[in-house]
Structure formats: structure tokens, C-alpha cells
Subunit: 432 residues, 2 copies
């Protein structure tokens, strides 16, 4: 058997400790699968004294993670600190400069610096691996870069944030409002004290930017992602979605067209018959559509120590076996730099919920605004009467350009009979 693959781990939080535990627990099968043992030879974290329930006595301790990346007796540096810049970025840059392979779970860093990191790794002749950065335990990077590599992909989309999916699932199950369910998720540890990163769609956008790059062999373009979170999704909208045959999911969607690449993150109405409509709770899912393979769907746990450690160690196994593929499927020089498609040019169907004063002529005014912008109505639903207060009117449209939709909505919002800003959710047509 070959000598061990020596590994330095920067960051010993939940995931870092999970990686150490996995390498220890499954040492026998890992050695057999890799043709050599995996050995954690160095570790670095903030607090040396903390009890993490793992044995790190055989590893050399570094207070300074960057120093470890530069000098440790290790072929691979695993970066599990997080954050797009700062120490995490320094650890990766230092490791690559010292010609060590890098394994990271850091989607924020990859979303902002992915192309530069891949270029540096390629020049240094080392691997940049990041299976754990997207969709937790689902081996989706491996699938896109290897399993589906024979295909030109046209679209990749998925549920990439467990917190949002948990909140939307609970809102559906209990009929409660966003703020209420968020508070509970925070108590249960499913949402952070500051939840904006998750619920405003930024985390999903980071992951989508990475997925897009590897799916289409394109430079990472986080700036090109349109982002909208789930804060404005109300219990009412979720109930109406059900009535109309939909579920509401926060999706990250990337589509390659002749004109460029569309990347968008926003709540979507997806048909009940689609596989993604039934991915609930903290599960993630990714759908990839290729020219030869057709539609493939991947589901699994999107976060947590176990699933994330599974993904990190999968990268270590590939390195131990000597396997390699370009970080984003093709050499950095071949990465395409396609224009980001503007959201105003997006063509799609829309769900609109208005709160209107229950007066004769309201619907005529609303439909006139839609007609004037050539937005074609698919259905209209007005439930309940309330001569005093506002009542909900729900509309769905046929496919229309987003710019026209926005102009029509501005006119509708300005109507005296419309009591609140219109709520809009895009209807996403998915193959079943």
C-alpha cells in the first residue's frame, strides 16, 4: 500500500470535526478505496482547548491557519473556515502557492473568487475541489463534472438552501406566516440569529454561481445572479399556490441560451407533478438537463456535519486516487465568459396577488392595465366579499416579458382601489 495522504484541516467547527470523525470511523474502507490511508497530520482552529469529541492528538496544532497552509507536512489543505475573504481566502491562496491541493466547502469564496482560484490551482498543478460547497451530501459537482460530462447542459436548477426549504415546508404544513416560522427555525437551530444570508437568497446565489460555472464551463459570475428571497412569501400565497396546483419553492436557476447565461434566485411556483415540488424540509435537490441524458434529478441532505463531511472526504478520496479534472470541467483558458442575461428580458408566467377594495370596476381597471402592456391573463380568482376592507384577487398570466409585467404592475399599484403593493411570484415551467 502506498504511503498515507497527509491532510491539514483549517477550521474545526461542526463540519471540520465531522471530517475528522469520518476519516477515523471509516478508516478501513477509505484505505481500501484509495489504495492508501487518509491521515490528518495538521489542524488549526480558533480555540485549542475546546472539546470537539474527536481525537486530534496525532495531528500537529497550528494557531495560525495560513502558517499551517504554508508549512504543514501535508499534501492537501482542507479549508472549512468560511467567509468569502479574510483568513479563509488567505489559507487557500497560501496552500496553492505552496503547491498543495485545496479542498473547500466555501461557496461564498468560490462565488466571488472561483475563477481566480481555479486559475492559480491550475498554474500550480494542484487540485481545487469543492464538492461540499453546493448541496451538502449530494455529489452534484462530481455528477456535473464527470458523470454527466458527455452532455451539453441547457439548464440546471435546484433547491439549494435547507433553511428556506424548511421554512416554506413548515409554512405549507401549518398555515403559519413567514416571521413566525422563521422564529421557530431559529429556536430549533435551523436558521441563524441573523437569517438574511439564507432567507434573502444570497446563500442560494453563491451556490448557483458555482453550479453554473461547472455546468456550463463558464467563468464564475456571482454579480450576474438576480436575487430575491422568501421574506415576502405569505401564508396566503402558499395556500393559493396549492389551489392552483403549485408549490412555492426557492429555486436557483441557471439557463444557457444563444445570447448568454441566465442566473436567477427567487421564489417559484412549481407544478405539483414535478419532482422538485416534493423535496421537503432540509432536503436539497438539483436537476440537470443535458442534450443526450435528458433530465436527471439528485436529492439529499443539504447541510449538517455528516453530509458535508461526506462531500469533503469524497474530494480527498479523488485526490488520494490521483484523479483529477479541471475545477470547472474545462481548463480555465477555455471557460466561456458569456453575458449575464438581464432579468427584464426574462420571459415567463406570473402569479399576482392584489389586495383590492371591493368596488365595482376594480377588475376592469386591473385587466385594462395588463391589456395595455400586452400581458395575457390565464386565470383570475376572487374569493370572499368585504364591502369595507380589502379582498385578495389572484391572477395568473401567460408567458410575458418581465419588463412588460413590471410596467403593468406599476400601473396596477397606482390604482386607488389597490390597497397594498402587488405580490408577484414567477411560475416556473418544469419538465416532470
Amino acid at each position: 500500500m502506498k504511503p498515507p495522504l497527509k491532510i491539514a484541516i483549517a477550521g474545526l467547527g461542526t463540519v471540520g470535526a465531522g471530517v475528522v470523525k469520518l476519516i477515523e470511523t471509516n478508516a478501513d474502507v477509505l484505505a481500501s478505496r484509495c489504495g492508501r490511508p487518509l491521515a490528518v497530520t495538521a489542524v488549526s482552529a480558533k480555540n485549542r482547548g475546546r472539546n470537539r469529541g474527536i481525537d486530534i492528538s496525532h495531528a500537529r496544532w497550528f494557531d495560525d491557519a495560513a502558517e499551517m497552509a504554508r508549512t504543514a507536512d501535508a499534501e492537501v489543505v482542507v479549508e472549512l473556515i468560511g467567509g468569502s475573504d479574510g483568513i479563509a481566502k488567505k489559507v487557500c491562496d497560501t496552500a496553492i502557492a505552496a503547491r498543495r491541493h485545496v479542498v473547500t466547502a466555501n461557496k461564498a469564496m468560490l462565488a466571488l473568487h472561483g475563477t481566480a482560484l481555479a486559475r492559480a490551482a491550475e498554474s500550480a498543478g494542484v487540485v481545487l475541489a469543492y464538492e461540499a460547497s453546493v448541496a451538502g451530501g449530494i455529489p452534484i459537482i462530481n455528477a456535473l463534472r464527470e458523470g454527466l460530462a458527455a452532455n451539453k447542459l441547457s439548464r440546471v436548477y435546484g433547491i439549494l438552501n435547507g433553511t428556506c426549504n424548511y421554512i416554506l415546508t413548515e409554512m405549507l404544513r401549518t398555515g403559519r406566516e413567514f416571521a413566525d416560522v422563521l422564529r421557530e427555525a431559529q429556536t430549533l437551530g435551523y436558521a441563524e440569529a441573523d437569517p438574511s444570508f439564507d432567507v434573502d437568497g444570497i446563500d442560494t446565489a453563491h451556490k448557483l454561481a458555482v453550479l453554473t460555472a461547472v455546468a456550463f464551463g463558464a467563468e464564475v459570475n456571482f454579480g450576474g445572479v438576480y436575487i430575491e428571497g422568501i421574506r415576502h412569501v405569505s401564508a396566503q400565497d402558499i395556500a393559493y399556490a396549492g389551489e392552483l396546483g403549485y408549490r412555492i419553492k426557492l429555486l436557483g436557476i441557471a439557463r444557457r441560451t444563444e445570447q448568454g447565461i441566465e442566473q436567477r434566485v427567487h421564489p417559484c411556483m412549481v407544478e405539483l407533478a414535478s419532482s422538485i415540488a416534493h423535496v421537503d424540509g432540509v432536503y436539497n435537490a438539483v436537476v440537470a438537463e443535458g442534450d443526450f441524458v435528458g433530465r436527471t434529478v439528485f436529492q439529499g441532505r443539504g447541510a449538517g456535519a455528516g453530509p458535508t463531511a461526506s462531500a469533503v472526504v469524497a474530494d480527498l478520496i479523488a485526490i488520494a486516487r490521483g484523479n483529477n479534472a479541471p475545477a470547472f470541467a474545462v481548463p480555465v483558458a477555455d471557460l466561456v465568459k458569456l453575458p449575464a442575461l438581464a432579468m427584464d428580458r426574462h420571459i415567463g408566467a406570473y402569479y399576482i396577488r392584489l389586495m383590492v377594495r371591493d368596488r365595482p370596476g376594480v377588475i376592469a381597471d386591473v385587466t385594462a392595465a395588463l391589456r395595455d402592456e400586452e400581458v395575457s391573463l390565464e386565470s383570475m380568482l376572487q374569493r370572499g366579499r368585504s364591502p369595507e376592507g380589502a379582498v385578495p384577487v389572484v391572477l395568473t398570466t401567460h408567458a410575458t416579458e418581465e419588463a412588460a409585467m413590471k410596467r403593468a404592475l406599476a400601473r396596477i399599484a397606482a390604482l386607488k382601489t389597490v390597497a397594498e403593493p402587488p405580490r408577484v411570484i414567477r411560475i416556473e415551467p418544469l419538465e416532470h
Copy 2:
């Protein structure tokens, strides 16, 4: 750029032609992803003159596929002839002996000779790759051997035969009987003229034997697979399944326990809430359960020229990149040879449909037989009365040992009031 990877293809049926077409259509991205072009340098098939809609003018033609495997100017031989033995096997043996990599879609051959082929390939220092042999376009071999390789898997199961899944889906949708839907599937080309290979579960069993080997790092043991097809599933059973909150699916299931490995293929009642219950038509799905990753689900098209070509070319890309992993995840010497668990020892719940004469005391006799064998009843359903003819009685049991269930069923079948042989379908508990 490195010189092309030279490829010889044995068999130019639907899949072979699909592979040639894919390599031609996506030549640009393939070269970029592999760091070298893929070049088909030799082909062999039965009928040289046939128009396949592909350009093979640059490839050398061989009438004798084994001769091609021995002498062609190629690093890789792709075997797409099929059949467990005969010429397909000879092509693979010859290619390995000539130190050429082998890519095959041949599950029957792998089910019967997988371990021997892997051993020969390992000794010769060449790759034995077979992504296309299981679940068509779903990159499940890659996922098990690489993406999930950090885990010890406890169970792997799936819908592995599109013909059976199409028939069961159509039976549910239309309420028609098996024979009727089979005939239609044959007309539409979804089922063979001789359908026994598919509908009797043999094809699923071949694929399961391969999956089991790579999932658990075990020698391929097709002989250890319990096999039961879908011929006896009736429209009535499908309707009752729906009423009880289940769908009927033909699953291949492999489970590793302390005692050995259980491999079984049979119709299963699966809860409507499980992801696999909603995999319909010609789609396949595989679920893998690992100690760190938890449950992961993979779905896609299980057959057809495009998806199968996608899988074959994924293997070629890995070879072109110089990537490699042992055929069944670990070196052949490390493959475990665990005993096959006997079906009589299987513990599970059962659905039983009896056709009984509508007389007082029938149910008492049936339940007494169950009690005597210590089979515990979960539910009982008797619909409709018919003083003259037979009426259906549907029972479900709690978990019990299959041997006890069989003894109870023998007693029940012998009752004078039981008009037809009892119909039994196992209820499979799946995580959601």
C-alpha cells in the same frame, strides 16, 4: 493538447450509433473537458451496409469484433453487443488481454462474470468501466464509487427497469390489467417481443448484482439475488395499494447486515410519501443510504440511445483524463464475499389478497392460520358481498419472518373457502 484517445466500438445498434453520434456532436466540449479529443478509430458490427445515420468513414471496419479488440489501433474497446457470454465476453477478455481499457453497458455479463473481469482488468492494469450498465443516464456508478465513497452504505435500492415501471405506471393510470398493458408496450416498442427478461425481474436482478458489488465493495453475486417479476400484479392490487396509501413498484433492493448481504427483486408496496413512489413511466431511480451522507436519491432516464450514450462517454472521459478507481470501488483482493441472506429469513410486512367464498367463518379461519404462525395482522378490508361468487379480502400484516408467512399462506390456500391462490406483495418500509 494531448493526442486523441483512440476508441474501438463493438456493436453499432441503437446505443453504439448513439455513442458515435454523441462523440461527433459534442466533439468540441469533449476535447476541452478531456484535454484531448475522443476519436473513434475502429468499429465492428454485424451488418456493414446498414444506414445508421452516423459517419463511420474515418473508422476502420472489422467484421470480427474480437479481432478488433486484439488488433485495432485503440486504447479503449467499447463493448455494446450484449449477452452475458459469447462474442461480447470474448471481446472484453480479448481487449483486457491486449491491455486495452474496456467500457461496457453489459449488465448480464457483469452480473455473471463481473468479479473475474475486474480481476483480469486489474492484473492487466487497465480500466473496466460500466456506467451504462445500470440505470441508463443516471451516473450512479460514479456516484457510488466516487461521490459517496466516503460512506459505508447500508442499503441501496431502486427502480432499475423502465419496461416494468412503464407497465406498472400505465396499469395505475388506466386501471387495465398486466397482459393488456404489456401488449400495448410491445406495440409502442417499450417492451420486447419476448418480455420475460424484463417483466420476470431478471434484468433488474442483473443490475442489482452490479450495484451491490460497487456499493458494498463485494464480489458480484447474481446467484444470491431473490427474483420475482410483475406478471402476477393485478389491477385490483394496484387499486387496493392506492387505497392503503401505497404504490406498487418493482424494486431491486440490496442491504448489508452483520450476517451478510440481502439482494432481492420483487414488486413492493411503497408509501405514497416516499420519493420513489413518484418515479413514473420509463424513469429509473436509485436510493443510497450511507452512514454519513444519509439518504441520497438519483433519478433519470433508464434506457434509450441518448442516456446510455451519455453514460458510455462519461466512462471514456474519465479514461481520457487518466482517472481511475477500482472497478468495484476497492481492489479485487479486498472485495468481501459475504453470504447471501436467505429469503426465508427476510423480515417484513406483507399485503395479502385472498379471493374467498362469502360465507360466515371465512375470516375466522384465515386469521386463525395467521395467529397459529404468529403473524400479526395490521389491517383487514372486505369490500362487496357476493353470496354466489368469490369476493376479495385484503389483509396487511406487521413485520414477520417470511418463512412464517409462507407457512400461514400454505394453510390459508388450503382452506375450502379460499377460491384462488393468495396474492402476496411485500410492503417495503422506506425513509421519506
